[in-house]
Symmetry: C2
């Protein structure tokens, strides 16, 4: 007996690394896993059925780097450079946040992600208890990391993060996992980084960190430590455990070799990196060297959305342009970045693919609209024509969390009301009060 | 008495070149023009009312360069360089087209544009009678140009284009205008370009042409004519009439000066230019020199959509990245490119703005979704968070052409059926049979 049967989808199957398009196929789910993909499975064998005529079935998209609660700050800091973005807007505004704000902001961001076909997110923020609760309730799959900054209370922060790992790692039937989250080498001392690495080793978890976002950060690191941020992170022991580095826009050949050797994955967040004008990782070079490159949204205060289809499209377009080569990132590769590469980056087996035995994390995408017809090439349609609003139905860990555009696990009207009630207080801005300070950097430091 | 009253919108008004956000305003329309924008207009004065609570009212977006009927070929030629795209796919496939195919393909593309808030398109294609009929029926506003290529029948082509101008220019209450459309200097001889310019002068219409799409085209032009495509076009007299040049990705300082001096506008189509890896016009330099830069989609065979919001977003993101400057294309400028700059590029007064006296071409955009809330900054929301599917209602020339996502002038189910019935025949591909030949070019020709 199947728990759920999806009928008549055009399935973008990824099996053993090969993407194939299976027209008019059914997908059966048992015990939170995909049990069968076949042209015709008897509906008599299923407790529940969903018809997917005219829809693509795709593996759930993976958002490999986000600050989900920053949905609260969508659009507050436009057209400003990164220093002003941090010091003038974001870090002052974040002093206003309470755990309740973070909880509601996370639910808003998760609602948007689910509506856009995202079924797993690597989230990096603070007040993570509130975030873990929101993730648990929403049915989302998440890899959480409590952001640490150097300050007077380094040990207390490490203790908090450790307790968070102990409480939540593996929770919700293993839908929630927890890594350690030092913010970056420019906001954490080498000593803090070393202690975080030590804690991660003891706990048997990985590290999620920001690295080399800007050329100025790299120059500053070399001036201060004689080494790039990538090498500072390596030398602190951060790469002795599973590691996921966001951005990594500015890398030397030695950096790339180091990332490859240590199996460190990179989460590129193209929209944020373009919008702040800070640079986008050399995806092709990283991939050639064997580095896993996945896609993230970053926070909505810089990206303005949590749209991973858009991220895949942007990165493919950008690479084609800057390499003057229409062939250099084919549609299959862009699709891989948003799915199976995300699973590799989070070191999470059994997600990011549609194949028998995989976790039942998937989305259905409507392809009968004026902007997606005719359907000559389903993968191209998904990447270059579909919008995240074309996602109709989302299943995470075998559970339907959105059906026909209706969220089933999140009370969206309530979330929107709670967020609206908080907006005025949250946008009171006292720039002398900040959660951290972005250092004055210049590219030629 | 007003013909139509829109109530309670957040109005992105553009008056005298200044963008301002007017919360909770009403818009009254009389005789196809905007008669009033005010906080409260009595509904008793209106024959029909639309409520727009939670929605932005924006000037209709202008698509300054499209091949609308190419919706038929969405997704047929992915991940191929421009030579192969033309010679291996598009120009062979276009030999299959009949006027009926072009008619239905145009309606499909127009449906997509209206659904995405586009109210005016500059279309460049052949079998333009069929296209003009589709435009007339759909209620769209359009500047049409019949594409000319050099061949055995140059004079016959000019005659056809001339008759098309005479028949359609100013039709449908001036919703349809017609210019001449020589394809490009690499497919038209200087002699044909001269005769087209002469015809345009005689008819009192403008010229819509492709210029300098690739570095190789520029090198080839210099090798053949001793001048860039921009200068070839100028010397043929094309800039002695109103002129709109698509792409213009590769320009010298002399080219930019020439475009500025002659008031030639540039239609940038960032998604196509990125996707084919051919280069994107230096928008900031062009604007600094006084050249009008507007946004186009190009055809759906290269862009895969007709989404002008996406084009604005892409160009802003790209300029910020390649200038390493988050400030260099602020949200107001990107909005201008998609609206009022389009009107300037098409030399069409009274569109592209929301102000009293302007043509009633506008769109309402839902901003109560998870991906657009909270609404800290309506212009940023439109540009960086909204999707074209968030457009709910579209008015062109005072007529409601889409209401609450339902098209009122296009029978979309029929269009989708007609297109589906044509797909198999249209994608039969004999590469030795082409409507034109893309020359073998190399950048160092």
């Amino acid at each position: 007996m199947y728990d759920l049967l999806i009928q008549h989808a055009t399935v973008l199957q990824v099996a053993n690394g090969i993407l194939s398009v299976l027209p008019q196929h059914d997908i059966a789910i048992v015990d939170r896993r995909i049990a069968a993909i076949a042209p015709e499975i008897s509906p008599g064998l299923a407790r529940e059925t969903l018809t997917a005529d005219g829809q693509l079935a795709i593996p759930g998209l993976i958002n490999s780097h986000a600050h989900t609660a920053m949905s609260l700050f969508r659009g507050v800091a436009e057209d400003v450079p990164i220093e002003e973005w941090f010091n003038g807007y974001i870090w002052p505004l974040e002093t206003n946040l309470t755990p309740e704000d973070v909880y509601w902001g996370t639910l808003l961001g998760l609602a948007e992600m689910i509506e856009g076909g995202v079924t797993c997110v690597a989230d990096h923020y603070f007040m993570m208890d509130a975030i873990a609760s929101a993730v648990q309730e929403s049915g989302m799959r998440a890899l959480l990391a409590w952001t640490l900054f150097s300050g007077a209370d380094d040990q207390q922060q490490i203790n908090t993060a450790r307790q968070f790992v102990e409480q939540w790692h593996g929770a919700a039937n293993d839908r929630i996992r927890v890594w350690m989250g030092p913010h970056s080498p420019y906001t954490c001392t080498p000593s803090l980084l070393q202690r975080v690495a030590q804690t991660a080793r003891e706990l048997g978890v990985g590290i999620h960190i920001h690295l080399s976002e800007t050329a100025a950060q790299v120059a500053q690191s070399i001036a201060t430590y004689g080494r790039s941020p990538v090498l500072v992170a390596r030398d602190a022991g951060l790469f002795d455990v599973p590691a996921l580095a966001a951005h990594v826009a500015h890398v030397s050949a030695e950096d790339i070799e180091t990332l490859a050797t240590h199996g460190v994955a990179v989460a590129v967040t193209p929209k944020t990196e373009m919008k702040l004008g800070i640079g986008v990782a050399p995806t092709l070079s990283l991939r050639s060297a064997g580095v896993t490159v996945a896609l993230g949204s970053d926070g909505a205060a810089s990206n303005n959305t949590y749209d991973i289809l858009e991220a895949a499209r942007l990165l493919a377009l950008l690479e084609k342009l800057r390499n003057n080569d229409a062939r250099c990132m084919p549609i299959d590769t862009a699709f891989e970045l948003a799915t199976v590469a995300g699973a590799r980056a989070l070191q999470w087996d059994g997600i990011g693919v549609l194949q028998v035995g995989a976790r039942a994390d998937l989305a259905l995408v409507q392809c009968t609209t004026a902007h997606t017809q005719p359907l000559h090439n389903p993968v191209a349609t998904l990447l270059y024509s579909a919008q995240s609003t074309d996602v109709t139905t989302v299943i995470i860990d075998g559970r339907i969390v959105m059906r026909d555009r209706v969220l089933l696990t999140i009370d969206k009207p309530r979330v929107l009301r709670e967020v609206a009630a908080r907006v005025e207080r949250l946008t009171q801005r006292q720039t002398e009060r900040r959660i951290a300070v972005y250092p004055e950097l210049t590219a030629d430091t």
